[in-house]
Assembly symmetry: C2
Homo-oligomer: 226 residues x 2
């Protein structure tokens, strides 16, 4: 059993849950040249060490060199506001989940693991094509058929929203101050980008104290009409 | 439109065919630390330059560092003989096609392409799980659903065997002496590994002269009973 760890709150919660329920042989982060990789990867390393799980970072420098996205150091500025807004499309890294899942699958097979855990959740956004259910189901099939052990894709949060994941993380003893969400990757969370907005909302909805230091703390923007 | 080019005979034939039928925006090779990458990639570069197609090499050093396979520089010796033999399993690089297709998909979307060409053919071997039809169909679905343009996976040789591909390459004017097959990656083709055995057979079956310099030229081994 293996888990993908991005250092983000949801992924680290998935790590703690997998550690409770499975024999986790590896924690895995990807350094793909995003503005926030240097913030989240050390946090993933810290939690893996805390749980006694070997951690591996896979360097994917070619994405910054060849891919177009404002999420990458090579791209423009990260937009503020809710994810649903058209501007957040600029943060899409083409087929990022496909690439990370494919590499994790090969690594899982190399280490004699039989499954992968990903923190995909019910609130994942349709603006990211590689978060859609139709993608995830097809990719899970490709992973199963394309490997000897039939690597299984586990999505324990697929029926859980971000507030539910925060509550679960809290109950598993996760120190949220050691998780990173902000796409801008500054010295502290910006408080205004799409991921910061969702992070703040999730703590509020779960009635949990938010231990995060934010650079700005404006009132949360209203949810766009759906 | 984009094509994956490995420098191998089948991939380069696919490149020439795509160049005839489509607007090819990129040729793509992966340097994943195999014993033969340093032989095949310069050949892919040569053919792309010859056709006026930009060529990109994606470095995937992490595969040599973390994956287990005799195909990699970090693995053991390449076995000889027909592919069907159990020993050829040692040359499987876990989920290699999944990883290469996923990365090519992200790159294709970044360059505003709508499709990928892969030289999968009717003789691909079931010992490689990521060559199986069930994998390819699922991966094609994942690529379509996981990208904005719905990147399409094209497999022009799926009903063609290696001899048929060799005949097609010949008719397209491909200089076969500038293609590489041998998994051992020595100064010349070894003549005895699984890929050399198939390369020799394909030229013979297609009644084409074989311009390859082989280190050893023993009689071709009989096909295993199926």
């Amino acid at each position: 059993m293996k888990v993908i760890v991005s250092g983000r709150r949801d992924s680290i919660t998935a790590l703690y849950l997998a550690h409770r329920d499975h024999d986790v042989v590896a924690g895995l982060s990807f350094d793909y040249g995003s503005k926030h990789n240097h913030r989240e990867i050390p946090m993933a390393q810290w939690h893996c060490q805390h749980l006694g799980i070997p951690h591996t970072t896979i360097p994917l420098g070619f994405m910054a060199d060849h891919f177009t996205s404002h999420l990458l150091n090579s791209g423009g500025d990260i937009p503020d506001g809710h994810y649903e807004e058209e501007s957040m499309k600029q943060t899409v890294v083409p087929f990022r989940n496909g690439i990370m899942l494919a590499i994790a699958t090969g690594l899982a097979e190399s280490r004699n693991a039989h499954g992968l855990v990903i923190a995909a959740h019910s609130g994942d956004h349709a603006i990211y094509p590689d978060c859609r259910e139709s993608f995830m189901l097809a990719m899970a099939d490709a992973m199963k058929h394309g490997t000897y052990p039939g690597i299984q894709l586990l999505r324990p949060f697929i029926s859980t929203d971000k507030a539910g994941i925060a509550s679960l993380g809290h109950s598993l003893g996760l120190d949220f101050s050691r998780t990173w969400s902000c796409y801008k990757g500054g010295p502290t969370h910006c408080g205004t980008c799409g991921t910061c907005t969702e992070r703040r909302e999730a703590f509020a909805l779960a009635n949990l104290p938010d231990p995060t230091t934010y650079t700005h703390l404006p009132p949360l923007p209203p949810k766009p009409a759906t």
